[in-house]
Each structure stands twice: as C-alpha cells, then as structure tokens.
C-alpha cells in the first residue's frame, strides 16, 4: 500500500506545477479533517476535486461542508445572487472532467449574443454555431415562481461533492479562530469543531472574512463593488418570443455601467448590471432606455420584477488568500473581473485542492502551490480593467458605437470573413477567454485596420449612408 501511495503522489507531484517539494510537515493524512465554509460552486468544486485526487492517492479524508442554506428552496433562501451563466470554456472543461450539465439543471442553452446600442443592434453567433453557454439558476428559482421543473446548479455541484464522500452540515458558522495553530469553528448552536484545514468559500458578503482579517495573519479581504440582479417573469412562451435563445448585452452611454445583460432562462429573464456601485437611479435609467424597453412586450412594458438584490461583488482579490491551515477560494479569495465568476471558482477550487494534497497546508505551501493560480487571475484582471476602460470609451462616443456595430454586422453577414471584432466581443461578453488573449487580439494589424476604416466611415458623411444600412439591418434582426 505504501509503495502504491508513494508512486501515486510522486506522479501527481511531477504532473503538477510547481514541482518543488513541500516546505513543511503540514501534510494531510488518512482521517485528516477538513472544513469547507460555504457550499456554493467554489466550496463544492474544491471538495469534489480534493476527494477525487485523494482517491487517486489512496487517501481517506473527512470533509464537512458548512452551508446553512438549502439550494433547492425558491427565492432568497436558496439563491446565491448571481446572473447564473456558465461560460463556454467552463462548460467544455467540466465535460472533460466528466461533469456534463444535465438538461434538468440547464435553464437554457444560449444560442447567440445580441449587442444593443442606441444606433442599432447586431447578433453575434458563436464560433462553432453550437450551444456551449448555459443559463442556470444557482438556487431553486426566483421568488414568486411556483413551478419547479428544474434543479439548482449549486445543489447539483453539492451532490457531486457528496457522491465523492463529503458531508453537508446545514449549520451557520458564527466564529472562526485558531487554537494551537489549528482552525477552530464555532457553529450557531455553540459547539466548537477543530480541523486540520479550513477552506473559506463564503463569497464576499460574509461577516467571517472581517473576523479572519482581524486575526492579523496577513489575509486582507477583497475589494468589492455593488451590482444589481433582478428577475422578470415572462412565462416560457414570453421568453421565447421576446428574447429568443439569445443573451442580450448593451453598449449604452450610461456612466458607471460597465456591463449590462438580459439572460433568458426557462420562464424568467435575469437582468444583471455590473459596474461602479450600481444604485436604484442607474437601474431606473437603464430600464427606461428604449433599447431595453423594446425587448419587453409593447403592451405591458417592463414588468414588475419578481425579486431583486444589490449583491457585493469582488473587483480586486484578497492580497493573501491564505494563512496557515486556511485558504480562501472563489469570491472569498480571487475571482475574474465581472465575468465567469463560476469559472474562477472552478479554477481556484481545483488549484487549492492540488495545493493541499501535493504541497501541504502551511502558509508557505500555499504560497508556492496555490498563490500562482490566484496571481494569474489577478494579473489578467489588471488587463481586464484596461479592456473595460476601452469599452467604456467606445460606449461614451456615438460615432465609435456606430463603428463597432458596423464592423460587427459586416463580419457576421459575410460568410468566411475573418471575425476580428466578433471574437473579441464574444470573448469579452461571454468571459470565455482570458482578458490578455482578448487584448492581444485587438493588436492584430487586421483588427486595427478594419477598426480604423469603420471609425473613419462613422465620422464622414460618405460613410453615414452605409452605416444607415447597418442600422436598419441591425434593427430588423432585433425585431
């Protein structure tokens, strides 16, 4: 048994990065106890990958996931306050891992994206004309909806973790402290539980992050901004008629708004606004814009939302997402800027599981085996900020909005045309590629020449005629 164990560990270590050996004797052994605080995607992914790899290494671990909520419940009780989009890259990576999202979890496979501006709209088709983006509900469904014909995405992931051997404890953690160097958790019933490792996967809205920061061991909470999520009930037929199978994104000149989307689900539409501290005034302005109104039934206008929230989102990761025997995954640590938060939960969850088993559980082990994955996301976010700054610039000028719309429409119309801007917009909207890759694509000479030509046409009287054609084309498509 020892030999088998040793060979497995060695092979896995050689395959993992970095390849250095652990720094300390902070290793997990048969029977080691691990607590995961939070049963959202990052906690579930961490547990799933940890237990899967532990089996490969012939290691038996005892994992408790603390999650007070029941994700099967409708409305706020089971909700995780998120748009609920599984990116194109994550759908593929999950499939490679053997996690094929079942139709009972997928509310709708997104067929295309439709970009709306004040000068028209255009559909952007996926690169392979294939549905590889999933719209899901994180909980059982929004408040006010009574038909439950589907399963919650978060519940589905938790079930995968349970199948690997984890236990769910529907209890609230009221206090986290270190006792003799080991994490000690107090549950709401006053009981205390000691663990060899604690993984914090609470998201950014938990009071526990403040408590852990106060321990003064190097962890600093992520910086946050306020987003807005709401649900509109249209019925299954209404969603089909008004939204089709497309996700609708907007390039509007509204200050503080970085990204806005309407995501079609089964019988509801989720509205998601991201930016610099979204407030009610901005929400009202957005809903009153003609580009948004035209997507709802003309006779009723924008209906009253069935539920809404202003969740805090992580916009700048924790400076040190670990301390001795404790690490932070997903939104509690580092996530992607504005996009693919569930993809970041997958990446950090898997990186943390590898670090714990192939490195160890000391802060030094995490620094060498977990931090590189977090830094990679943070560095990409820095480029993402530049990408969103440029997008904001385009948003603020009518002629640049025209140029972008025209260039996109031309590429989408011509079969076999090089998809310069279409792939850039697709990846910015879907979050399927790293921001660095998107940015590098905008430096391609073909992209620059075509953009310059379309900008020229957008500001000249000569070009305005052809632009009008694009406007009409765009509006026809949107109807």
């Amino acid at each position: 048994m020892w030999q088998k164990n040793n060979h497995g560990m060695e092979l896995a270590r050689r395959l993992s990065k970095p390849t250095r050996l652990p720094f300390s004797d902070h290793q997990l052994h048969d029977g080691s106890r691990i607590a995961v605080i939070g049963g959202g995607p990052s906690g579930a992914f961490f547990t799933y990958f940890l237990l899967k790899l532990a089996k490969r290494l012939d290691l038996n671990l005892d994992v408790d996931i603390y999650e007070p909520r029941y994700f099967s419940h409708l409305g706020p009780a089971g909700c995780n306050h998120c748009g609920g989009v599984i990116s194109e890259s994550l759908v593929q990576l999950l499939a490679i891992d053997g996690i094929n999202l079942p139709p009972s979890v997928v509310q709708r496979g997104i067929e295309s994206y439709r970009l709306h501006t004040d000068v028209g709209s255009v559909a952007i088709e996926p690169p392979l004309h294939e549905k590889r983006i999933a719209a899901v509900y994180r909980g059982g469904g929004p408040k006010g909806v009574t038909e439950v014909n589907w399963k919650s995405f978060d519940n589905y992931l938790l079930e995968l973790a349970v199948k690997q051997g984890a236990q769910i404890r529907h209890q609230m953690i009221s206090d986290v402290r270190l006792r003799d160097g080991r994490p000690c958790l107090r549950t709401s019933d006053g009981a205390e539980h000691e663990y060899d490792l604690t993984v914090v996967a609470t998201g950014v809205n938990s009071h526990l992050l403040e408590q852990i920061e106060a321990l003064d061991l190097g962890f600093k909470r992520p910086k946050t901004a306020t987003a807005f999520i709401s649900e509109f009930y249209l019925g299954e037929e209404g969603v089909k008629q008004q939204m089709g199978g497309s996700m609708h994104v907007f390039l509007l000149d509204l200050p503080r708004l970085e990204f806005a989307a309407l995501i079609p689900k089964n019988n509801c539409v989720t509205m998601c606004l991201l930016g610099d501290d979204i407030d009610e005034t901005l929400v009202e302005t957005f809903l009153n814009s003609p580009e948004v109104k035209q997507l709802f039934p003309a006779e009723t206008g924008v209906p009253q939302n069935t539920c809404h929230c202003f969740p805090r989102i992580n916009v700048d990761g924790a400076s040190q997402p670990f301390i001795d025997r404790m690490l932070f995954v997903g939104d509690s640590g580092v996530t992607r800027l504005y996009k693919d938060g569930i993809g970041a939960a997958y990446r950090t969850g898997q990186a943390a599981a590898n670090a714990v088993l192939l490195g160890g559980v000391s802060a030094e082990d995490f620094r060498h085996h977990y931090l590189p994955a977090c830094k990679k996301i943070s560095r990409d976010n820095a480029i993402g900020k530049v990408v969103f700054w440029i997008t904001g610039l385009v948003q603020s000028m009518r002629f640049s909005r025209r140029a972008i719309l025209r260039m996109t429409a031309r590429e989408q119309q011509k079969e076999g045309a090089h998809q310069h801007i279409s792939t850039v917009l697709w990846d910015v909207f879907t979050g399927s590629a790293p921001y660095k890759e998107v940015f590098v694509r905008t430096l391609h000479p073909g992209f620059i020449i075509h953009l310059a030509w379309n900008l020229f046409l957008a500001i000249t009287p000569f070009g305005s005629k052809s632009i009008l054609v694009e406007e009409r084309h765009g509006n026809q498509q949107s109807g």
């Binding site: 395959l15 593929q92 499939a95 094929n100 089964n266």
Partner: protein
Amino acid sequence: METNNLGKLYKDQECVVRQGDEGSCMYVVQKGELIVIDEQADNEVQLGRLKAGDIFGEMSLFEREPRSATVKVQGEAWVLTVDKRTLLRRIKEDPLIALNIIEILCRRIRTMDEETVNLKAGQGHASEDTV
C-alpha cells in the same frame, strides 16, 4: 427544439467526424447514441458505440494524424465540441486535468488488450460496447 440541451443537435445517420479528415477538436456526447465505424474499401466495420458522457476524437488533439474512424449518429444526438485551444490552455494551467484523458486512453488500451486476447484465442467477437 429543446432549449436546455448543450452542444449541437445531429440528425440520424449524420457524421460528426469522418475517417481520414483532419481534426482539431474532441467531442463529448451529451444525449443520444452514436456508432464508431472503420470505413474500409469494400465494407464498414462497427468498432463500438458511444452514449451520453462518452468522449471521442481526443486522439487528434495530441497527434497530427487524420481521424482514425467515422462517428455516426443513430437516432438524434446532442454532442458538445471541446476546442483544442481551450483544453491545452487548461492543461498548461493545471497538467493534472490531463489525467482524465489519460484514464480514458488507459481504459481503451485495456479493452483492446482483452479483445486481442479473445480474438487470438478464437473465443468470439470484439466487444461492441466500447471504443
């Protein structure tokens, strides 16, 4: 059309990959059934069947060889395409993800070993359950 399936819908007898074609992606069956065929000059030999969750076409991600077999739909099937770039980008980030594909390849070698032994011993035909 069902709105909550992922991938692409292929119709009955439609080929997802054809033997001899160049390929740069792999596939994961989401729903339905497909058959794997070796197309020879005068006849077709069925090598196996694929069902939901099965992966195929992965060999072309790692070698620059044409597709080794044709995969055809029986009935209707939803199949998800996995891009080479997406997979390789992720393997670069976390090489352990390649273990999943190595495991699949190991299972196939094991099955082929068993079938070779059976054929040499003249005990029967190759299994049609796996590729």
